[in-house]
Every structure is written in C-alpha cells, then in structure tokens.
Symmetry: C2
Subunit: 149 residues, 2 copies
DNA sequence: ATAATTCCTAGTAAATTACTAGGGTATTCA
DNA sequence: TGAATACCCTAGTAATTTACTAGGAATTAT
C-alpha cells in the first residue's frame, strides 16, 4: 500500500512547476535539477499529467510546461490519480475498472471495507488543492522544502 | 497503492475463522478449502497474525486456530497492519519506521499530505471491527459471501 | 540552420509479490 | 507406542511491477 515514485515525484514536480511558472513556462530540465530527479523519467510523468489536462506545454527553445488551470482548481487527488491511477485499495472497487468488474459485488462482505478505505483516501486528497501546498511552501520560503524523498 | 494478497486473503481468512470457530479451533486446511486459498500460503499469513497476537493455535490432530480475543476487540486495522505493515502511503510517515526516519520532516511541504492520507486510512480501518463484518455476514447468511477475490 | 526543447517508444536491472516445496515439531488416539 | 494430523519454519522461484535509461523524432525561437 505504498505510493510509487510516480505519485511522489509527480506531486513534487507539480508543486515546483506551480511555484516557478508564475511568469511563463518552465522547462523540465530546470524542474529535474531543482528537485534532483531524472529528466527522462519526469518526461513520462508529465505525459500522464498532460493527458489528464492538468498541464500544458510549449515546444521549442524557451518552451516548457505550465499549469492548465489555476492551482485552486487542481487537487492533490487530480495529480495522484493522473499518475497512479485509482488509489482504491483493490481493483474491485477501483474507479478505473468497468463498473461490473466484480460479479459478486452485492454479496461480498469485505467489499464494503475496501469501499470505505477508498472513500477515506479520496476524501483527503480531493480536499487538498495545489494552492494550499503553494501557500504552505511560500509561508516560510527560506526554510521550506518541497519534498526530500 | 493496492493492497497485496496478504491483506486481502488474510482478512478473508480471519473472517472465515471468526465465523467458524464458535466452538473450538478451526484447521487451516478447512479455511483454505472454503475460501479457495493455498494452505501453504495461508500458513505464512497466520504466522504474522499469531505474532501480532490476534490468533492462538492448538497443535496436533483436531488442532487449529482460534481468535485470541473477542471479535469486538479486533479491528480491521489490527489485521491489515499485522499482514501488510503500516498502511501509510510513504515510508517517511510510516508507523513502522523509527520516528526520525526523515531528516527534513519539519520543513517538508508534501509530508503533511502523506500524513493526512495515512490518518484517513487509519481512521477507517481502526473503526471497523471484525464483529461488524461477522454481523454483516450472518445478516443474510444464505446469500452472503466473504470475498471472491 | 542550429540548438533547445517537448514527444514517443523500447528496453532492462532490481525489487517485490505470490506463491511452492519440503522438512521439522507437537499432540492425539488407536 | 506409533501413526496420523495438524501447526511451524525456511528456502527457493516464476511472474510481475517498478524505476528507471537510451535514443531518436518533431517542433520552434533565434
């Protein structure tokens, strides 16, 4: 039940992007350098984020990425689900799966446990916006770091 | 962020055990057969559950396992943590780790996200008792199944 | 044109998962 | 007493997933 590096690196990179894209786009290279991540690997994560329409890109020299919407409108849940898929604890209650994935859903006793865990996680991550993380970061700019993992 | 078969099979087996151990112990073999699981694999899961003092065992013929406490006193959280370790989304906020595992914890912006996810999960699983699952199972005995995954 | 940048796909080493195999130990019962 | 039944323990392993690396193609500012 651990988040993979996709979710961890991706949230870290999105916060870096949000903080540094105030005037125009930001190159992946600069994000990778500041956060100590592999640029090639970040490319793959940003492909997922773009597909989910959370970021926009500009090609060519001086190109880069920027948020597709204001940070108040982007939740941690949007970001993590774009990168990790559903955070449901089992496939049978995953939002990704076709609804009828589990043939015995109506009769399964443990299913309600998995649903309640899923809803508990979603309730947390859907109620934290990127803006809140930016505020937290800027509040103590000189001593605050985004993530060190 | 998916639960492994340890957690899924283990909760399923614990509920089977709780339902069938009303008078005395229950053999692993019978649990494995009823639930369609590998007996050898279940042995390993039950070793973890025993180490966590959630079950007791009796050796020899007619031996088997039984709950170490009444089902109202055993939570889904107790069971899942015994099998999976901490359900925290990252190592840096895991209850398993030494407290000072993350050197920058006080300054890390995303740490609070991981903590809130961890607390959200724990709040769910620590507030569901095995007794509630038993009640749910018995409520509609003839149409209810424990788990089909 | 050239260089900087995003875009895209394939490959792969390491780690993890989900078991299987097989032997040992305690206890009951004929 | 000895055979059968169950728990106990460790090692090995195939399959899958993770976390990347590599390298080329497309786009565009200068």
């Amino acid at each position: 039940m651990k988040l993979s590096t996709k979710g961890r690196y991706g949230l870290k990179a999105m916060l870096d992007l949000a903080v540094h894209s105030v005037d125009g786009q930001v190159s992946l290279n600069s994000i990778a350098e500041r956060q100590g991540l592999s640029e090639n690997y970040l490319e793959q994560l940003f492909a997922s984020l773009k597909k989910a329409k959370l970021i926009k890109s500009v090609r060519g020299p001086q190109g880069g990425y920027m948020l597709a919407d204001s940070p108040e409108n982007i939740s941690v849940g949007d970001i993590l689900r774009a990168l990790e898929g559903s955070l449901a604890p089992t496939d049978c209650v995953s939002e990704d799966q076709g609804a009828g994935s589990c043939s015995n859903s109506g009769r399964c006793v443990t299913r309600s446990v998995w649903e309640r865990i899923r809803d508990g996680i979603n309730n947390v991550i859907d109620n934290i916006t990127l803006q809140e993380l930016i505020d937290d970061y800027l509040r103590n700019n000189n001593s605050r770091i985004i993530d060190n993992t």
